[in-house]
C-alpha cells in the first residue's frame, strides 16, 4: 500500500507518465462519449449563460449563441471535473497555497497585485477571444486536434506557442 500512497501524494509525476495518461484518457472519451477533450467552449457557454441572466433571453438569439447554445453540456461537466480533479491532486500532495502573484512574475515585476491582476485580465481576455476565434484552445486543438493529425489544429497549436514564446520573451527579456 505504501508505494501506491507515495505515488498519490507525490507533488509531481513524470511529464511522460502524465502525457501518456492524457493520451489514454482521450481514447476513452472518444470511445465512451464520442467526444474529444476540450475546454474553451465551456467558457463561451458560461459567458452566454451569464449574459442571458443579465440581459434576458434575447441573448440566445445572437448568431454565435445560436451555433453554441449557452447551456450546461458534456464539455462544461468536463471542466467542472477538471477543477475537482486538480483540487484532489493538489490536496493529496498538500500543494494548495493561496497565491496572488506567481514567484517568477514577482522576481521580475514586483509583488504589486494590481499590476499582476490587470495584466492577467488583459491576457485572459486575449486567450478567451483568441480561443473562440480559432475555434479551440491548447486542449481542443493542442491535444485532441493534433492527435487526430488535423491540419487546422496543428496550425493553431503552432500559433499558440509562437504567440506565447514571442510575448513571454518580450515581457521577460526586453521590457
Amino acid at each position: 500500500m505504501a508505494p501506491v500512497l507515495n505515488i498519490i501524494t507525490a507533488s509531481a509525476w513524470s511529464p511522460y507518465l502524465v502525457g501518456v495518461g492524457i493520451g489514454i484518457l482521450s481514447w476513452l472519451t472518444f470511445l465512451l462519449s464520442n467526444h474529444p477533450l476540450g475546454v474553451s467552449t465551456a467558457f463561451a457557454k458560461t459567458a452566454g449563460m451569464i449574459e442571458k441572466k443579465l440581459r434576458g433571453p434575447r441573448v440566445a438569439a445572437k448568431p454565435y449563441y445560436r451555433e453554441h447554445k449557452p447551456a450546461i453540456d458534456w464539455e462544461w461537466m468536463l471542466v467542472l471535473g477538471l477543477f475537482i480533479g486538480a483540487l484532489a491532486a493538489a490536496a493529496m500532495s498538500e500543494s494548495i497555497r493561496w497565491e496572488l502573484v506567481p514567484s517568477m512574475w514577482e522576481a521580475s515585476f514586483g509583488s504589486n497585485v494590481v499590476i499582476r491582476f490587470s495584466a492577467a485580465i488583459f491576457g485572459g481576455i486575449c486567450v478567451g477571444f483568441g480561443a473562440r476565434w480559432g475555434c479551440g484552445c491548447t486542449s481542443g486543438h493542442g491535444i485532441s486536434g493534433t492527435l487526430q493529425l488535423v491540419l487546422s489544429s496543428w496550425l493553431s497549436a503552432i500559433c499558440f506557442f509562437l504567440g506565447g514564446i514571442v510575448t513571454a520573451t518580450v515581457i521577460y527579456r526586453i521590457l
Binding site: A89, G128, S152, A168
Partner: protein, 189 residues
C-alpha cells in the same frame, strides 16, 4: 455507416454528464500532477527554459494518435475534426498566444491553477477568459468575411501528404516526435 462500438451509451445524457465529470477529474488530476497548471512552469516553457509542457503534450499526442487511429480502423470511434481557414487558424491562435504569454495559463490550466490556490488564475484566467469569449460572441457576426479567407476545411496531415495508408504517416511521425523528446532529454531541457 456502421454503428460505433459504444453507440448505445452516447445518447444517454445524464450518464454522459457523469462520464464527463470523471474524465474531467482524471484530466485535472493529471495536469496538476504534471505541474503544468503552474505559471512558472508554463512561462518556463514559453521562455524555452523548461520543457515540461511540451513533454506532456507530445507524449499525449503520440499515445492518443496511435490509439485513436487504431480504434478508428476497427470502426469503434469516429474522428472529430475541426475545419479551419487562414482567417481562423492564424489570427485567433496568435491572439490566444499573446494572451497565453501574459496570463501564463491556458483555459484548462487556469481552472487547474485556481484549484491549487492561484488567484491570478481566477481573476485573469477564469474571469478574463469568460469575458474574452463573451466579447468574441459580440463581434462574431462582423468577422464572418475574415473567417472565410483561405478555407481549407477539415483535412488532416494524412490528406495533405496523400498517404494511402494512415500508418505510413503515423509511424514515422510518432518516431519523429519520440526522437525529438529524446533530444530534449539529451540536451537536459
Amino acid at each position: 455507416m456502421t454503428e460505433l462500438k459504444f453507440h448505445n451509451l452516447h445518447n444517454r445524457k445524464y450518464l454522459q454528464y457523469g462520464l464527463a465529470l470523471i474524465f474531467g477529474f482524471v484530466f485535472g488530476f493529471l495536469l496538476q500532477k504534471g505541474r503544468v497548471c503552474y505559471y512558472d512552469v508554463i512561462l518556463g516553457q514559453l521562455l524555452l527554459e523548461d520543457f515540461t509542457v511540451l513533454k506532456v503534450m507530445l507524449s499525449a499526442i503520440v499515445t492518443g494518435m496511435i490509439g485513436i487511429y487504431a480504434m478508428k480502423a476497427a470502426g469503434w470511434v469516429k474522428l472529430h475534426k475541426k475545419s479551419g481557414s487562414l482567417g481562423t487558424s492564424l489570427p485567433g491562435p496568435l491572439i490566444f498566444g499573446v494572451g497565453f504569454g501574459i496570463l501564463g495559463y491556458c483555459p484548462g490550466t487556469s481552472v487547474g491553477a485556481v484549484a491549487h490556490g492561484s488567484l491570478d488564475a481566477l481573476i485573469g484566467g477564469v474571469f478574463g477568459i469568460t469575458v474574452g469569449a463573451g466579447l468574441y460572441a459580440a463581434v462574431y457576426p462582423r468577422l464572418e468575411k475574415v473567417l472565410e479567407i483561405g478555407s481549407f476545411g477539415d483535412r488532416t496531415l494524412i490528406d495533405l501528404f496523400r498517404a494511402r495508408n494512415p500508418w505510413l504517416l503515423i509511424v514515422p511521425f510518432a518516431a519523429l516526435i519520440i526522437l525529438g523528446l529524446i533530444l530534449i532529454e539529451i540536451m537536459g531541457l
